[in-house]
Amino acid sequence: MNEQIKKPLILTVDDELAIRRLAKLTLEAADFRSIEAENGNDAIQMAASYRPDVILLDINLPDMTGLEVLQRLREWFSKSILVLSVINDEQTIVKALDLGADDYISKPFGAKELMARIRVCLRHQIEELGAPTFSSGDLVVNLANREVFIRGARIKLTVTEYDLLRILVQHAGKVVTHKQIVTGIWGPRAPGQIRNIRVHITRLRQKIESDPETPRLLLTEPGVGYRLEILDHAVI
């Protein structure tokens, strides 16, 4: 039986025509289906009617703020929401991520970047990345056995380092905020330990990156958090 795999449906919400047009062209060129909305109310309506797989949501909307739309959507919409943000506006981005957004892209964005982020969201949706093992580039993580391999060789990590890696793997490809990391490792009531995280990240990089000075796997998203990249093939 051939299951008709429906092409993913993406809803783009932005008050600027140029952005909507660009998104539509890019998505359709990548063989996705695309619908657009101009403002928050329309967005909620269309999300309810069409049930998209991913929503691209502009932070700055005319009628309601993007964050409000996000909150409303998250009351019932469980699929991916990607926030389109203004560059250097980390505060809003972190707020959005805390409110339930999956990831963000800064405007102006390139088509490649957009597609990469959408694809990561889709992979998480079909639980491809919920598997017990994860691999990216030289890194292989066996979540079931709590084992980590670099180029096949087992490496030792401290408990905190492993927890850190685990959280990043669970969100592989998506940005993880400082708060999410702290909560994930030390619990919801732990005070912000950004400095500590930094130290652990550095140590982790030294263990898993081929060139710790030029990380390819464990990337810093300044002001927001960190991202574990999904690399498609092993890096030499």
């Binding site: 250097n88 400095r195 550095t202 000075e213 030029t214 990380p215 810093t220 300044p222």
Partner: protein, 630 residues
Amino acid sequence: MFASPFSEQLIRLTKKTAEARNALWFGAFVDTGVAYTEKEQELLSKNLALVQELGGEIITIADSDPVSGIIRLAKDNKVNLIVVGKSRRSFFYNFFHRGSLVKRLLEEAGDIELHVVATRALDKTDSISFNKFEKSKNENFLKDMVVVSVSVLILALIGNLILPFVQYKSIGLLFVLEVAILSLFVGRFGVYFAAIVAGFAWDYFFMPPKYTIAIKDSSDVILLLTFFIVAAITGQLTYRVRRQQILGENREKKVSALYHLARDLSSARSIDKILENAVEHIGKTFNADVVVLTKDSSEHLVSYSASTGSIDSKEISVADWVFKHRRPAGKFTDTFPSANFMYLPIATEGKTFGVLGLRPQFLGHFAPDVLSLAETFSKQLAIGLEREEMHELTKKGLLSEESERLMKSLLNSVSHELKTPLASIQGASSALLEPTLLKNEDVIKQLATQVHEGSIRLTRFVDALLNISRIEAGSPVMHLSSVDLKDLIQVVLRKLETELKSYIVATKIPDGMPTIDADFHLIEQVFTNLLRNIADHTNPGTKVEILGSFDGQIVTVVIKDNGPGIPENEIEHIFDKFYRCNQNKTGTTGLGLAIVKGFVESHKGHVSVKSRLGEGTQFTIKLPIGKIDE
């Protein structure tokens, strides 16, 4: 007028008379240099205030003799009528002052009309206040007695020695001479005392019969009497001359103080300096505590730091009154006389700058004299302050001219930098709309690349402009957080991946490198600009080293390249706005390093460059170690 309760009668009468004649009238005051008690001063200021209140003018003059003072005043001001009060003085007073005031005025007035008003008889106590021993500050009767006695004795001894050679009568002349000399050094009553003592000494030691007061020769009696008179008169005259001289000296001192103040004010270059000088001068001249009050940004009067006195809020309300009404108030005046300080407005015709407060360190300071001199000082001060204000305005005017010029050149640069990539984008995109061209995929790709590159260049330029304008507007708004330079450089290198593709970049930042308190994006821009510069100005294959280090206070990052280097004559200009090496280099904004410098400095850091032609360039950035604990 004097500090007399009856002056009021006089003043009112004078006003009435002036009104009847439709004439101007003055209240005249002669400063004989004599000190007054506080009660007398109060009376005097009250009288002076009354004069002003009733519409008369106050004129003062300094003279040890009231009569000549009045006459001078009258002549100088072309007075037609003098109104004077007649009082009963003691006989001796009149005698020694060559007749009563009134009588002498009559004699010396000449053409000037004189009205004598019989004031009510002064009772005993009042007349005593006039006739009491008029002690001026410098007169100490006890000291004088001692001095006189000693000198007379000495002369007597000398006289005894020369007696064999001269007649005893001639010795008398010597005593007269001595009295004249002594009157240069002693006070008024010392002079009288000297005359008496000398006379008796002469009689006792020299007049036959010697060593008795008795006088044998009747002609000697006349001699002795004449001696007394001459000695007294000579002494008096000398005393008076000296007094006049002292008064003149005092006047001169005050004028010269004023001159010095004016001179210093004209050379002082800032408001602070001016106020400092003023406080110093005024304090010295008046032997007073000085307080200068100016308005601060919240429109309250505050005491300037160099003031030598301190005042409380009650005093400040007096000062506020003075500021508002532009008239003196406080001690020695009629408004708020119970205040501790005397306050004068520091104001020119156009503007009030503040308030000057004076409190003399000695109570005996004379009201009207102090007031007018102090007013002059405060006017000088106001002029000085006004001049400074003008100066500032001129400077501002010059600055705005300069900035207009810069604006023009900026606009030229900017419009060029914007138009060039826009033209490229427009051209390429319009070509893409040509249906014929769309057949060729290669061409499409090229044109699209051109559009892409043009827009990137535009974006970069606009960002640079925004950054520069943030720096220019003062300190750019910074969101400070704890920044890890290692992290930051990684982010920058990632962003510049394409530009630095063919470069050999090595980063060596020690693990323990402390964080800095910085705005992430601003510092990111700093390193982006520095690294991009290398990509723009050197050839592919160039080695780039990024080295980090730190000590107790400072974090240092060095970016080294072994590219062509910067010529010496250009090095000092590279941080200038819109400066570009090899001026034709397109795609560079000329703003990159200016932004680097601006941002580093707004983080209280420092950037420097070293370069040798053919060997390479090295940029060193120093930033203070961070204190934020996240």
